[in-house]
Amino acid sequence: MSKKILLSVRDLRTQIRGDGPPVRAVDGVSFDIAAGETFALVGESGCGKSMTALSIMRLLPDAAAISGGTVELDGENLMALPETQMRDVRGRRVAMIFQEPGLSLNPVMTIGAQIAESVRRHTALTGAAVDARVIELLEAVRMPDASRRVGEYPFQLSGGMKQRVMIAMALACDPALLIADEPTTALDVTVQAQVLELLRDLQRSRGMAMLLITHDLGVVAQMAQQVAVMYAGEIIETGPVQTFFDGPAHPYSRKLFDSLPERAGRNRLLAAIPGAVPPLSRRFEGCRFAERCDRVLPHCAGTVPAWHAVGEKHDARCHLYADADGTSVVKSATASGSGAQIAVRRAEDECSAALLQVKNLQVHFPIRKGLLQRVSGHVYAVDGVTLDIFPGRTLGLVGESGCGKTTVGKGLLRLVAPTGGQVLLGGGDFLALGRDALRRRRRDVQIIFQDPYASLNPRVRIGDALEEGLLALDVGSGAADRQQRIDALLTEVGLSPEVKGRYPHEFSGGQRQRIAIARALSVEPRLIVCDEPTSALDVSVQAQILNLLKRLQREKGLAYLFISHNMSVIDYMADEVAVMYLGRIVEQGSVDDVLRAPQHPYTRSLLAAVPVADPQAVRPVLRLAGDLPSPVNPPAGCHFHPRCGVAVAACATNYPVEQRFSATHLVCCHLCKKTD
């Protein structure tokens, strides 16, 4: 059955002008979206997918301009419309929602007024009819307590609710096409699941077409019917979702799949793509992926590949499919599978003594109020966390944003001052050390951070940045020895020692993260706190960093406290897992205990919410309602009970005691009873 084409993009080109040569952010993109269908545009950051969406809406920033191509909506070329007529298209026929719901709403206008503005602009409704329509829209996006919320301001809403408001605004005039630009990237995984479900239901019930822009293959698998992969400003592969997931054809698409930690399995190396996306200010002569491709042919670099059919409605822009029977290449490629096997851990590791013991760690931040700035309450960021970390092993700490997991990491390093508890390291309490003793012990525990751009001082050369720790902690004997160590460290993380004299701005995000790892390693620590080390990176770069961390652990017997919100990364990296909710650990145990046989309802719903990169995955329906409560007033009893689907009366009054579910598996839940 062939559906009516709603939107047809042909040879769209957009350039961004700046200091240097123009950046061709969108460079000849063509695709069609049928009415009522979800079309996903996937790609890593900087490939031009957001610019494509903004070009269709003609909402480009001042520095960017469309330099060619057509965009036809129902046969009408939007590029040729005068601006006044384009305004009638925006919001009525094509609506758009953005990545950052927190920044996308006017902070000084009530949400009701912002939605009403959209309604008034495109419909003839007035007065009370508008108010009624606004409430109707808010209810349609399942906003709890809609009639009260209309008078609230964006800052009074959580991120998920703000995105619902954005969706309500977009739906105001029943648009034929909704463009969703990374609609859930800024949201937590449980909230993401709610929003995605909402979008899917709305799209189906209203027969609305959707252009979904995302970097997450899991989201594509759940949401889309058609998919197109973008790389360096152009589309390189397109096809129906099922066919695409069954056999991605382009080497880049295949690498994207292989670099997913959940696809590789924990004992295999991840497939990483070497190098980085080329700058789009460059002129390309051949295939844009040629220099990073492991199946490159001699003519790839010089000849632009044409489109080749690789399956039914499934096309790829790659020379590999030029003469051979495309499908067979696809088959052979899929069979090749992912990376090499990693040596399996020795059994004797399991029984060694803990390297670091965190006992009842508390970090409370006082809230001051009133005339005399008296302490009126506390933010219970970390409220009694107990963990053991073993040498040579990885403890994964997982939870949604705001649960206090980063504060645990910083608290045990004393980067924020803990208000209670103990951190036992090498026999002594790390938290009780005086200034000089603390400085000496700092050698043992180091940290790497999330944002590779903020973790290196832009004014300090790489060599000097690496030397800082050596100098501060008196590691190495003399300047020559320190330089030798620095050279060795850089080689170890896969960089050349020559980069010592350079400044951070010359490096990509992945390279910076390698430098940050080298810096942490410089003082030969026994434990490294990895605070979301890959969440700012693209999936292919993430694979490089995860591989590196695993190798270093094997070679040096390092212990990691690996903090992440990403379940599949935790699954790939961790030996033990602790799940955190509102400042407390709700479940911990070995990775198989917690992720394969989760007991706590929160862990279960967290796992259920993760989008899996498989369109046919059978998913348990375990949607979490609402948002994470404030750590200022955690709910009485079990902190999770207001959102819990199976809560009983006791949950509302007493905090559950920690139960030993099995030898390695601890759960904090009234409903979990020992099974022995």
Binding site: D19, K410, L413, L415, L438, R439, R442, V445, Q446, I447, F449, Q450, D451, A454, S455, L456, N457, P458, R459, V460, A465, E468, G469, A472, L473, Y503, H505, A516, R519, A520, V523
Partner: protein, 475 residues
């Protein structure tokens, strides 16, 4: 025995000006080797208005620096000992010697040959008439001014213009040659590139500014030895000379006022943001208190007190130039105190953001000391704000000087500045016919200086941190 026919004198402001020059050169050498420091400056050099402004500013800086080398000329030796004049001269005075020495009796209009006021003149035959007497110097070479004046002025002016344009043309040609050498193209090609704005550095704008400078300066230089190009003031002093001397005063105030308080602003601002808590409260209290006093009033109160002090301790200051110089420094300090708070607040805000950054957290994880973190990780990353503050405050301070001198709390009345020029000329507004040339000269020179400074500051701000929004300067 000193054989030199002069003795150098280093005034306090001279010393500070040359320290500043040394610092700028040192910074330039340091920044050349560091791409991240060079990058914003190369962005400045790519701004057309910035380059044009830089050319004009360079001319002003040259005048200001020439005026910052002081000496005392030797007098005939007395009793076998070398003796020196009590009056201080500068290199600029030396260059402008003719202008300085050719005093008239009182007002004369620009390029005039006759005085602006009638005088009673005794004729050889014993009669007395009231007429406009000939000037002692201005146009004195003319036999018959009524007939020759216009032709002479036009000819000399035109000759000056021609020479200036010739020089300008050879500079432009030399520049094309340099561009040609660097790019490997021919000179003709480079010449075309420059004029079509195709060079990376907008040389066209710089050459245009230079041309404007040449068109103005050529005729002026040609005419100045024989005429008073901008007329003379009440005591018969050449107005052009005054305007050129005012440049140094303006530039000293514009730069030193920010610089003298800079170490305090930097240290306190960074400390407040870094340590937060009590330290922050104290520093915030300090700058809120200081900024709560309206700037002009704080300056007025301080300058009044300083005046009383100088009057009562006259013995501390050997000459009137030194006294005026000390007063200038004091004014810079006071102006610095009033503009200090804004910079301090900006630095505090930036440090508050920086201290949460991950590279500073990483330094904490190594146990690096607070002092070292501030010096190594915070200070270099707030320097762009200091740089922007320096150039942005300059024009405001030059303008403030004029207003303060008018109010009576500016520079010493004996020191030539734009403020004192306007102040003394203002009284002649009511005169019929009006004496307008002092005001006009002050207006033209001040506008050129401040406009160039503003344009340059904009280019610097855009290159270093386009997002930094700042309220207008003080006073």
């Amino acid at each position: 025995m000193n054989l030199l026919p002069f003795r150098f004198e280093l005034l306090w402001t001279d010393a500070l000006v040359w320290v500043l020059v040394a610092a700028v050169i040192g910074y330039a050498v340091y920044a050349r080797a560091r791409p991240h420091l060079r990058a914003p400056w190369s962005r400045v050099s790519r701004s057309a208005s910035g380059m044009a402004a830089a050319v004009i500013l360079a001319a002003f800086v040259l005048a200001g620096l020439l005026d910052s080398i002081h000496y005392r000329p030797a007098l005939p030796p007395q009793d076998g000992k070398a003796a020196y004049a009590t009056e201080l001269r500068s290199l600029l005075d030396l260059t402008l010697q003719p202008l300085r020495d050719k005093r008239e009796k009182t007002y004369s209009a620009p390029l005039a040959t006759h005085l602006y006021a009638k005088e009673t003149v005794l004729l050889p035959d014993g009669r007395e008439v009231r007429e406009f007497p000939r000037l002692r110097h201005g146009g004195a070479h003319l036999k018959n001014p009524a007939a020759d004046w216009a032709g002479d002025v036009a000819l000399r002016g035109f000759r000056g213009l021609a020479v200036a344009l010739l020089i300008w043309f050879s500079v432009a040609l030399a520049l094309s040659a340099a561009v040609a050498q660097r790019s490997g193209n021919g000179i003709e090609q480079s010449w075309g590139d420059i004029w079509r704005g195709r060079t990376a550095i907008p040389w066209r704008a710089a050459l245009c500014a230079l041309a404007a400078l040449a068109v103005f300066a050529g005729p002026v230089i040609a005419l100045a030895p024989l005429y008073h190009v901008f007329g003379t003031d009440k005591v018969g002093q050449d107005v052009l000379y005054q305007a050129l001397k005012s440049i140094r005063t303006g530039m000293v105030i514009g730069t030193l006022a920010t610089l003298v308080m800079l170490p305090f602003a930097l240290l306190l601002g960074v400390m407040a943001g870094y340590f937060k808590g009590r330290v922050d409260d104290m520093i915030q209290y300090l700058y809120t208190t200081l900024s709560s006093i309206p700037g002009v009033l704080l300056i007025a109160a301080s300058v009044l007190m300083m005046q009383v002090y100088i009057e009562n301790n006259a013995s501390l200051f050997p000459s009137s130039e030194i006294r005026a110089d000390v007063r200038l420094i004091a004014l810079c300090v006071i102006l610095g105190v009033t503009s200090w708070t804004g910079l301090c607040r900006l630095l505090r805000g930036e440090t508050l953001k920086l201290r949460e950054l991950e590279y500073i957290q990483a330094a904490h994880a190594f146990g690096v000391s607070h002092w070292r973190i501030m010096m190594r990780h915070v200070m270099p990353n707030v320097m762009h704000i200091v740089m922007i503050a320096l150039v942005m405050d300059f024009s405001g301070l030059v303008l403030a000087e004029a207003v303060l001198s008018y109010v009576g709390v500016g520079v010493d009345p004996s020191m030539i500045s734009f403020g004192t020029m306007i102040n003394s000329a203002r009284l002649e507004m009511a005169r019929e016919p009006m004496v307008w040339w002092s005001l006009a000269a002050a207006f033209v020179f001040m506008l050129a200086l401040v406009l160039a400074a503003n344009l340059f500051a904009d280019a610097v701000r855009d290159a270093f941190d386009p997002r930094l929004v700042r309220a207008g300067a003080v006073a």
